[in-house]
């Protein structure tokens, strides 16, 4: 089980309280698809992903980004119980979606960059370290049920 200090929990919740989940989720997913274009392989049914402009404006990308980050919010509410919280999602990503867990790490790093651009100087080194830890454990929990 992952240990979270009081300071880490504070850094997580104070950042999260200021995040617009819909905007941030949409941006993170769009950037994933733009910066690492091979990740588009999971989204054949999303329509037009032919250019960065198309991706950013794509309503399915926006909607799915919001869904993903909303789920992230669940993780934050259950920091002491992440594996259980994500057990079903993990099975889904393995058995139905067939997503290489490396993609969770890629998305996590993209999210960090989106947060950095949003919070600028408030995104201190300690804040970044805490959030890197968080995206890391979320990625781990999502990969946990893979077989």
């Amino acid at each position: 089980m992952v240990h979270w200090s009081a300071e880490e929990k504070q850094l997580i919740t104070s950042v999260w309280s200021k995040v617009n989940v819909e905007e941030c989720g949409a941006e993170a997913l769009a950037r994933l698809l733009i910066v690492y274009p091979w990740t588009q392989r999971f989204f054949d049914n999303f329509g037009n992903l032919s250019s960065p402009t198309a991706i950013v404006g794509n309503p399915k990308v926006r909607a799915h980004g919001k869904k993903v980050l909303t789920s992230f919010g669940e993780a934050i509410k259950n920091l002491d119980n992440l594996k259980a919280t994500y057990a079903k999602l993990s099975e889904l990503h393995c058995e139905k979606l067939h997503v290489d867990p490396e993609n969770f790490r890629l998305l996590g790093d993209i999210l960090i960059i989106v947060l950095a651009a949003h919070f600028t100087k408030d995104f201190s080194p300690a804040c970044q370290a805490t959030w890197q830890k968080l995206v890391g454990v979320v990625a781990h929990a999502l990969a946990y049920k893979y077989h």
Binding site: I34, V35, P52, I55, A116, A117, K121, F123, P125, Q132
Partner: protein, 142 residues
């Protein structure tokens, strides 16, 4: 992985905008890397790694200088960083995985100081550039 004409333009533009801040960004990149990925500190047992360290500042300046050099010779990064590539292969032998960590922290620093500059396209170009630099520095490892 190849840098397109657009990538090169984007990267050169970023470094132009960064200008004289490059050294500070180099230092901040290292500080964030050491804080976020403590295993990277193992390459610097001889350094004072506390906040504000003069050694980290000097090293940040070196790292930034190399990135600027690579951007200024973006058509031949391997040529521009050839000596650094030798150094990393023969003496420093930093595990290749760590260049990704440094590259990521550099992107975070750029995002913090120039959020509007880092559009998705520029983000992609800069990420590719940092990968290219890492590849050059590890090219002679074996």
């Amino acid at each position: 992985m190849v840098l397109s004409g657009n990538d090169k333009t984007n990267v050169k533009n970023v470094f132009t905008k960064i200008g004289g801040h490059a050294e500070d960004y180099g230092t901040e990149t290292l500080e964030r890397m050491f804080t976020t990925y403590p295993q990277t500190k193992t390459y610097f047992p001889h350094f004072d790694l506390t906040h504000g360290s003069a050694q980290v500042k000097a090293h940040g300046k070196k790292v930034a200088g190399a990135l600027v050099e690579a951007a200024n010779h973006i058509d031949d990064i391997a040529g521009a960083l050839s000596k650094l590539s030798d150094l990393h292969a023969q003496k420093l032998r930093v595990d290749p995985v760590n260049f990704k960590l440094l590259g990521h922290c550099f992107l975070v620093v750029v995002a913090i100081h120039h959020p509007t500059l880092l559009t998705p396209e520029v983000h992609a170009s800069l990420d590719k550039f940092m990968c290219a630099v890492g590849n050059v520095l590890t090219a002679k490892y074996r």
